[in-house]
Amino acid sequence: MSVETSVHVVESLTSPHSIGQPSRLKSLLMVPSVGVLFLWMIVPLAMTIYFSVIRFNLLNPNVSGFAGIENYQFLWESGSFFPAIINTITLIGLVLIITVVLGVLLAVLYNREFFGKNVAILLVIAPFFVMPTVSALIWKNMIMHPVYGLIAFVLGKLGFPAVDWFGDYPLLSVIIIVSWEWLPFAFLILFTSLKSLDHEQREASAIDGAGSIAQFFYIVIPHLKRVIGVVVMIETIFLLSVFAEIYTTTSGGPGTATTNLAYLVYSFGLQQFDVGIASAGGILAIVLANIVSFFLVRMLAQNLKESR
């Protein structure tokens, strides 16, 4: 390391123009990436904002003109808006709690050595690689089905009545499926981070008489705090757009029981073709995401500064 640094210094003294002097030509290398991302960020956003304040329905060309806050007002007063917001928050909140709590416990459990650990890890992370439509359909038709499902079979053997998951607890069913998909993500990241925890620190605390539970709360949790923050924020961004699981299992129903913000926008925009109202819903999702990403970007910026 020190050799490299000294070489660096020597060379920058001998040939100042070859190092650290970005020419205009080199800046051009960034243009394609930054350019397309800029368009990707600004054009749809501007269009969504614009559509959200005009009257625009694909089925009825006579509806036109400036709408002001009418679309937002309509959304606010429509019966499906509050359920959708509540469902979105419930879904994100419960999935976060389930995946982070179980993820931390699993990561601590898997931080020990045991027989066949690497194979067991592969089994735990597998659900993350299953496409959402497959997960949703397998869970709905083969695990949670009230007649043929595995859970009904096990409950039946134990003498309990079968549960009609999607009939009686539709939102909970979706939450279970989504948690199953995201638990591996939380686990994998927390587990990776836990591996970097200093063993000497734990040993020292053990010598000082700290039991497993004290170690967990005073050493493991503080070590994982920052990473838990990262997991929570990244999951939140993805969970705002949970769609495929709802689309393939319940289509937002029964009623509005499993309609979240993403599904609401889809049903206004692509089913009822009311672009204006759908865009107003889209803006709300963007605002929610921005609140979260504000904190995430600040945290990652901190990280970037420390690593350089």
Binding site: F114, A120, I125, M131, I138
Partner: protein, 269 residues
């Protein structure tokens, strides 16, 4: 007490692993059952390839597999073409604005897909990109470009700058530098980045469901057609799903370490 605890936690860890994996295992064995057999929860049965045959007979399954392969690999290549030059510039010739640019790149990933669904749908309709393969390639490239840029950037940063400077003094130009030095040195990192991008595109289900129907549909939206309410086809569903999931599961297991780096934007390595 000590060895007992060790055994206890080992068994607990395995029990949890098996419970988490069970739905996938269940799908795997149901795929080899007959349609009637799929309704009884037997672990022991005579395996049959009946369901696979009827999946191929019922629909042009290979067509959707090819769509998925074509879309995910093309978008990955597009990501690399865009990301490598930019990452090269940012990691070897950083300026005061580089960090800011990186964070801005990241922030484009924060836009929830649902927020821009309507304008993208309309733009695609007007550009005749709805239900087309180039359309999905475009979306997936834009969706994954921030991750690609960040990952390639972190791998490039691990290459000691002195090596490149030495090459430059020996008269190597930018392209030779990239090809003869960076490519071999960062190949492991770049290939796992590529695998991660393929996995993410392969499993993407928001845009594929909203922007495609039969012709250009990748596997994610083809599988969704099994959700039709008229009759359950558990064995066929399992067979079709197994074929769709198996290759990506293998890729995922291979790249698990890079997955962490890519999905947390380098915050956890």
């Amino acid at each position: 007490m000590k060895p007992l605890g060790k055994w206890f936690f080992g068994i607990l860890a395995w029990v949890i692993a098996i419970i988490i994996f069970f739905p996938i295992f269940w799908m795997m064995i149901t795929a080899f059952k007959t349609e009637q057999g799929a309704y009884s929860p037997d672990l022991f049965f005579i395996p049959t390839l009946e369901s696979f045959q009827s999946v191929f007979a019922r629909s042009n399954y290979i067509h959707f597999v090819l769509n998925s392969i074509y879309i995910s690999f093309s978008s990955t290549i597009c990501c690399f073409v865009l990301a490598i030059p930019a990452a090269y510039k940012m990691s070897f010739f950083p300026t005061v604005k580089t960090q800011l640019t990186l964070l801005w790149v990241l922030s484009t990933k924060m836009m929830p897909a649902v927020g821009v669904l309507v304008p993208i749908y309309l733009l695609f309709r007007d550009a005749k990109l709805l239900n087309s393969i180039p359309g999905l390639i475009l979306i997936y490239t834009l969706m994954n470009l921030p991750i690609a840029l960040w990952m390639v950037y972190t791998y490039f940063c691990e290459v000691p700058a002195a090596i490149l400077e030495a090459a430059r003094i020996d008269g190597a130009d930018v392209w030779r530098e990239l090809w003869y030095l960076l490519r071999p040195m960062t190949m492991p990192g770049l290939s796992s980045t590529g695998l991660l991008l393929v996995i993410l595109s392969w499993n993407e289900a928001f845009w594929s469901l909203n922007l495609t129907s039969a012709d250009a549909a990748p596997l994610t939206s083809f599988i969704a057609s099994y959700s039709s309410p008229e009759g359950l086809f558990c064995a066929k569903l399992s067979a079709a799903s197994l074929l769709a999931v198996a290759p990506i599961l293998v890729l995922g297991w291979v790249t698990q370490k890079q997955l962490v780096r890519g999905l947390t934007f380098g915050a956890v390595k």
